[in-house]
């Protein structure tokens, strides 16, 4: 991408009917580290790659719990993501306070999408530079959505976003038909396998990734797995790897 005459502010149209500033914000999402989400009839799983700015630094947090029933994986400007995250937590909390029930994931997503859209519509605002995979369980079952800086939001059975996510998406497109009846553990394995396709050096460790799981049944809580808790999943992934089909990416 390079500068042109129509990208100095968000509210200027290009003659081809595009908003370049908004598209630049979408680029920020593509440069963020990858995140993957997928769902079955009973569960929805998020997996994300974490980056560290240097060998000496800690890894950024990529998956956040929003409420007891839902969580989010971020790609792009993490700082913008945290702001949206706080907004979404507030919305969930307010809903719980007034209605004593979890906020439907679709409603939550349309609220952040509306918020993002406002930033594409005001000359003095900057679009959020973050894309989100929002996963949760509500009265309608497990749901997975992706939002982006333009204010769009789409529902998915499986989706990947961020740097080199095409590789993960290719894997998901090949296998998504088996997800509906898959177990939670199988979903996690699919998520990690897809994520691995997008990882630098194709390597996942307990440090550079995390998992988020929301499901009906059990206690219905969104669970965030980080660090050592991931070890069994990664071990299993390594064990299965020999038999897995080679991916052409």
């Amino acid at each position: 991408m390079f500068r042109n005459a129509y990208d100095t502010d968000v509210t200027t149209w290009s003659p081809t009917g595009r908003l370049h500033q908004v598209e630049y914000a979408m680029e920020a999402v593509k440069q963020g580290s990858a995140a993957v989400g997928l769902r079955s009839k009973t569960h929805v799983v998020l997996a994300a790659l974490k980056r560290a700015p240097s060998e000496l630094a800690s890894f950024q947090q990529k998956i956040h719990e929003l409420d007891a029933h839902c969580g989010v994986a971020l790609s792009g400007l993490t700082a913008d993501g945290r702001v949206l995250c706080r907004y979404m937590r507030g919305e969930c909390l307010n809903h719980r306070f007034v209605y004593e029930s979890p906020l439907a994931v679709s409603r939550l997503v349309s609220r952040v999408a509306d918020r993002s859209q406002v930033c594409t519509h005001r000359s003095y605002k900057r679009p959020y530079g973050v894309g989100m995979l929002v996963a949760g369980v509500d009265a309608t079952g497990p749901r997975l959505f992706q939002t982006d800086p333009s204010g769009n939001a789409y529902e998915y059975v499986a989706q990947a976003m961020g740097a080199r996510s095409q590789a993960a998406r290719t894997y998901l497109e090949r296998t998504f038909e088996t997800y509906a009846d898959a177990t939670v553990d199988a979903l996690c394995q699919h998520a990690l396998f897809a994520l691995k396709e997008s990882a630098q050096d194709n390597e996942l460790t307990t440090k550079n990734c995390s998992l988020g799981i929301a499901g009906m049944g059990d206690d219905g809580r969104f669970k965030l797995l980080d660090g050592e808790a991931l070890k069994p999943y990664l071990d299993k992934l390594a064990a299965d790897d020999g038999g897995a089909q080679p991916m052409d990416t």
């Binding site: 919305e91 307010n94 809903h95 306070f97 007034v98 209605y99 004593e100 029930s101 439907a104 679709s106 409603r107 609220r111 509500d138 009265a139 309608t140």
Partner: protein
């Protein structure tokens, strides 16, 4: 000039502001809100100013269901309408047109709720076809005793809430316990502003997903609870003792209906602010939500003591 809505949360709807309510009460400014509606002042500038009521906003009439007609009330109204600029805001201090008890019980298939259709102006039977049991969501009924206009405002809030679900058409609908939780916050937030909605509410329904019946009640200051049987106002004294003896969660529709009719009859005999014109609403998992056409109950007034009230009082006329 825009009318100022009370704490209208843009997403959750009116009267639900959470933090805002605290901020407002912290400033304690609600006692002395300046009137800013100049159009309103102009419209009243020629009116004779009635003496401002010396009462503080919370020195008000008793919460009785049978407020007698009170000429003082008119003076009070004039004091509100003609209040000079800068006078304290006035709030609802007692009800004008009131409904009496609402009764409701759980039974095998769901819940059943009953009330008469009277809107009484003090002791006058003023409106005789008021529906005090209304649908609030696909499987939720709300019934109300107390000030009818306040209940019609509450019905409007609930309609807006439900319309939003219908418009979105995303499979998400309000459940009875969500309606109940919402109404509790509305009632409680209004009492925090010393501007109560003068009602006792009953919320009943069935959770479509689980088939579980729900019954709850909330007063005008936010006292709320759920139970297998509830009743507001006089019903709490007249009907609930019957319910305690006879209501079971597994009773049949016929049994439930018979019990409610028995309770309605007792309430009608003993409560002078009621009429013999009732509606019964039911919510069940199988056949959804219904509110009956108005009906009457057979009554018996031919007891000897009624016909000849002075028969045993020799010497009286």
């Amino acid at each position: 000039m825009q009318p100022s809505l009370p704490s209208h949360h843009p997403l959750l709807g009116p009267d639900t502001a959470i933090l805002a309510a605290q901020q407002q009460s912290a400033s304690a400014s609600f006692f002395h809100n300046q009137r800013t509606n100049t159009a309103h002042q102009d419209a009243n500038s020629n009116a004779v100013l009635a003496p401002a009521s010396g009462a503080m906003p919370f020195t008000v009439a008793p919460p009785q269901a049978h407020a007698p007609f009170d000429a003082g009330a008119l003076a009070f109204d004039a004091a509100i309408t003609n209040a000079p600029p800068g006078a304290p805001n006035k709030h609802t201090t007692y009800p004008y047109v009131t409904g009496t008890s609402v009764l409701a019980i759980k039974y095998k298939d769901g819940i059943m709720m009953a009330a008469d259709t009277l809107g009484a102006y003090g002791a006058t039977k003023r409106y005789k076809s008021i529906s005090r049991i209304v649908p609030a969501a696909p499987t939720t009924l709300v019934g109300a005793g107390g000030e009818i206009s306040d209940f019609q405002y509450i019905s409007k809030l609930l309609t807006e809430l439900n319309d939003n679900d219908v418009i979105r058409d995303d499979g998400v609908v309000l459940k009875p316990r969500e309606v109940f939780a919402y109404l509790q916050r509305v009632m409680y937030n209004r009492r925090n502003k010393f501007d109560p909605l003068w009602n006792s509410l009953v919320v009943g329904g069935v959770d479509q997903a689980t088939g579980e019946a729900f019954l709850g009640t909330c007063s005008m200051i936010g006292v709320s609870y759920t139970d297998s049987h509830v009743a507001t106002g006089f019903g709490n004294h007249l009907a609930r003792p019957l319910f305690r003896n006879e209501q079971r969660d597994d009773m049949t529709e016929q049994e439930a209906r018979a019990l409610l009719e028995k309770a309605l009859r007792v309430c009608y005999y003993r409560d002078k602010n009621s009429i013999n014109k009732f509606v019964i609403g039911t919510v069940t998992k199988e056949s959804g939500m219904k509110v009956s056409e108005p009906f009457s109950l057979s009554t018996e007034w031919g007891y000897d003591a009624f016909v000849h009230p002075t028969k045993h009082a020799l010497g009286s006329w």
